[in-house]
């Protein structure tokens, strides 16, 4: 078990979403959950795919693959559980990932201004350069034109 409680500000979780790899500040991350049943019910919230039950909590799952344009295959779907800070509370939220995650350290470098708002920088690990995700901006992303991502009238 890797204790992210003690992860420094330069610690990142490297995660794979479909074909693409990203980095997420380790301080945001609560845990990597194994494949779990995704519970779905009607709603109209963009990006929310459903909920999982983890350690007695009902955790909403965002379909980050829609934003990142990289779909996680359902057979190897793990859930990266992260914290979202609200003005009066913290809430756990999850995104599907392929399962292969690592912890790495490094300095975040600024990225091109053409990158979408949910990319906060770039991280070089070995010979690989990864986009660093801003979790909050990722799960609230409304597209380049400010319009909501495609969503059915009611999603299940």
């Amino acid at each position: 078990m890797i204790d992210v409680d003690n992860a420094g500000p330069n610690s990142f979780v490297l995660l794979q979403v479909g074909e693409r790899r990203f980095a997420l500040p380790a301080g945001n991350v609560a845990e990597l959950a194994p494949p779990l049943r995704l519970h779905q019910f009607p709603h109209t919230s963009p990006l929310v795919a459903g909920v999982i039950v983890r350690r007695g909590h009902i955790v909403p799952v965002y379909d980050a693959g829609l934003v990142l344009e990289s779909k996680v295959p359902s057979v190897h779907r793990f859930y990266l559980v992260a914290r979202r800070e609200f003005s009066d509370a913290t809430e756990l939220s999850a995104i599907p990932v392929n399962g292969e995650c690592e912890l790495a350290t490094g300095e975040v470098q600024p990225c091109s201004s053409e990158k979408p708002s949910y990319i906060s920088g770039k991280l070089t690990v070995g010979d690989e350069t990864l986009d660093v995700l801003d979790f909050e901006k990722l799960v609230t992303y409304q597209g380049a034109g400010g319009s909501e991502p495609p969503a059915e009238e009611a999603r299940r």
Binding site: I2, V48, V51, E152
Partner: protein, 177 residues
């Protein structure tokens, strides 16, 4: 790989056991507090009493019925939730509301130990539709907010549609006479 859990919390349940009716619409299960339901009737038994309501503003409401000098609006739950069209067989007549709800079938009664608040990730109409979520038999089930079926403003629109239809009928009667 596993990470240590930091218990950030926060969908705390309201700890109060309550009896609910589990019902199905388009293969989706919902829970509604038993105390919110006055009566469950078959659509067949309601057939003669239901009156078609001609209005296009709220397609989920196509019929009304009278009870105790009050008009009840019948809401198609499938349309309300944006679910595929089904053939409802039951009507849940709600208590303290002039509304009844068409559903496919009743699954069973159950006691839920708690209702978890809806995570804040949910920001759409579901905040009106649901009081929260219940976890029963390894299933997360939305718990209905009964007054979410028809908002006050929707009741007003339907009442106006009723008045318009009544005045049209009066006018037609006068012309025929």
């Amino acid at each position: 790989m596993k990470f240590a859990v930091q218990d950030g919390n926060k969908t705390r349940p309201q700890r109060r056991a309550e009896q609910v009716i589990l019902f199905i619409v388009a293969n989706q299960m919902f829970a509604i507090a038993a105390e919110s339901v006055q009566e469950i009737r078959s659509t067949d038994s309601l057939g003669g009493a239901a009156v078609e309501l001609e209005q296009a503003e709220l397609p989920k409401v196509r019929h009304t019925f009278e009870r105790g000098h009050r008009t009840y609006f019948i809401v198609n739950a499938g349309m309300h939730f944006g679910l595929p069209v089904t053939r409802p067989t039951l009507v849940l007549v709600l208590r303290q509301l002039r509304a009844a709800v068409l559903v496919d079938r009743i699954e069973r009664m159950a006691e839920i130990p708690a209702v978890f608040s809806l995570p804040r990730a949910f920001t759409g109409k579901e905040r009106d539709w649901y009081r929260g979520l219940a976890y029963i038999d390894d299933q997360v089930i939305p718990v209905i907010r009964p007054n979410g079926f028809l908002a006050r403003e929707e009741f007003q629109r339907l009442d106006r549609a009723m008045e318009t239809a009544a005045s049209h009928r009066e006018l037609e009667g006068a012309v025929q006479a």
